[in-house]
C-alpha cells in the first residue's frame, strides 16, 4: 500500500507546537490551583508537593517541562519565520528547537538523580 503523503518537518513542527500549547493550557489551571494551596498554609502545599514525588507524577512533570521548552522553541521559530526576513532554512530552525527541548529534558532528568 502506498503511504499517504508523509508530511514535511515544518508541518510536524506546527502540530507539535499546537499539541504542546494545548496540553500546557489545560495543565495551567491545575498548576495554579496547587500553588493556591499555600493560602491554606505551607503544610498543605508541602503535602501536595510530596504527593507529586510519586514516579508517575514525576514523569508527567518531566513531560510538562519538555513540552514547555518545546512550545517555547517552536514558538520562537514561528516568531522568527513571521517577523524576521528568512530564506530557506526552516529545517534548521526546527532542528534547533528539537535539540533545545531534548537538552532541557535531559538536564532535568539528570538533576533529579
Amino acid at each position: 500500500m502506498i503511504q499517504r503523503w508523509r508530511r514535511h518537518p515544518g508541518y510536524w513542527a506546527a502540530i507539535a507546537h499546537r499539541l504542546s500549547g494545548l496540553v500546557l493550557a489545560l495543565f495551567l489551571p491545575a498548576h495554579f490551583l496547587v500553588l493556591g494551596l499555600a493560602l491554606e498554609g505551607e503544610i498543605v502545599l508541602e503535602s501536595a508537593i510530596r504527593w507529586a514525588d510519586q514516579p508517575l507524577v514525576k514523569f508527567s512533570e518531566w513531560a510538562l517541562i519538555v513540552l514547555l521548552t518545546l512550545h517555547l522553541s517552536l514558538g520562537l521559530r514561528i516568531l522568527i519565520l513571521e517577523f524576521l526576513p528568512w530564506r530557506g532554512s526552516r529545517q534548521a530552525l526546527i532542528g534547533f528547537g528539537a535539540l533545545v527541548s531534548i537538552l532541557a529534558g535531559s538536564v532535568f532528568l539528570l538533576k533529579l538523580e
Binding site: L22, L37, I49, L68, T69, K111
Partner: protein, 112 residues
C-alpha cells in the same frame, strides 16, 4: 479586524512570555536540584515585590496568550464559532487570570 487584534495580542504576549518562561525554567531546574519543598518555594517568594511582578506579568500574559490559542484550536478542530467562541475565550481568560492571581497571592502575599 478582531482577528488582527487577537493575533497581535497573541504574538505580543508570546514575545513577553519567552524570557519569562526561560527564567521560570531555569528556576525549576535549580529548585529541583536543591530538592523541591514548599518551605523553599515560599521562602524565596514571600514578600518579594520582584517575584510578585514577575509572576504577575506571567499570569497576565498567559491569561491572554493561552485562551487565544485555544480559541484557534477550538475553531479549527471542533468547528466552534460565532458568539459562543468569543464567550468561551473570554471565560477561559478570566478563569486563568483569577486562578493565576490567586496563586501569585498565595505564594507571595500569604505571609504578609
Amino acid at each position: 479586524m478582531t482577528d488582527a487584534r487577537l493575533y497581535l495580542l497573541q504574538r505580543a504576549t508570546a514575545v513577553l512570555l519567552a524570557p519569562l518562561v526561560l527564567v521560570h525554567l531555569g528556576l525549576i531546574l535549580h529548585a529541583v536540584e536543591a530538592g523541591l519543598s514548599a518551605a523553599e518555594i515560599l521562602q524565596r517568594t514571600r514578600g518579594s515585590i520582584a517575584w510578585a511582578t514577575f509572576y504577575g506579568l506571567f499570569v497576565l500574559a498567559v491569561a491572554v496568550h493561552a485562551p487565544i490559542g485555544l480559541r484557534n484550536v477550538a475553531r479549527e478542530w471542533l468547528a466552534w464559532g460565532g458568539r459562543w467562541l468569543n464567550w468561551a475565550t473570554f471565560l477561559m481568560g478570566v478563569l486563568l487570570l483569577w486562578l493565576g492571581a490567586r496563586a501569585v497571592w498565595a505564594v507571595v502575599g500569604g505571609g504578609l
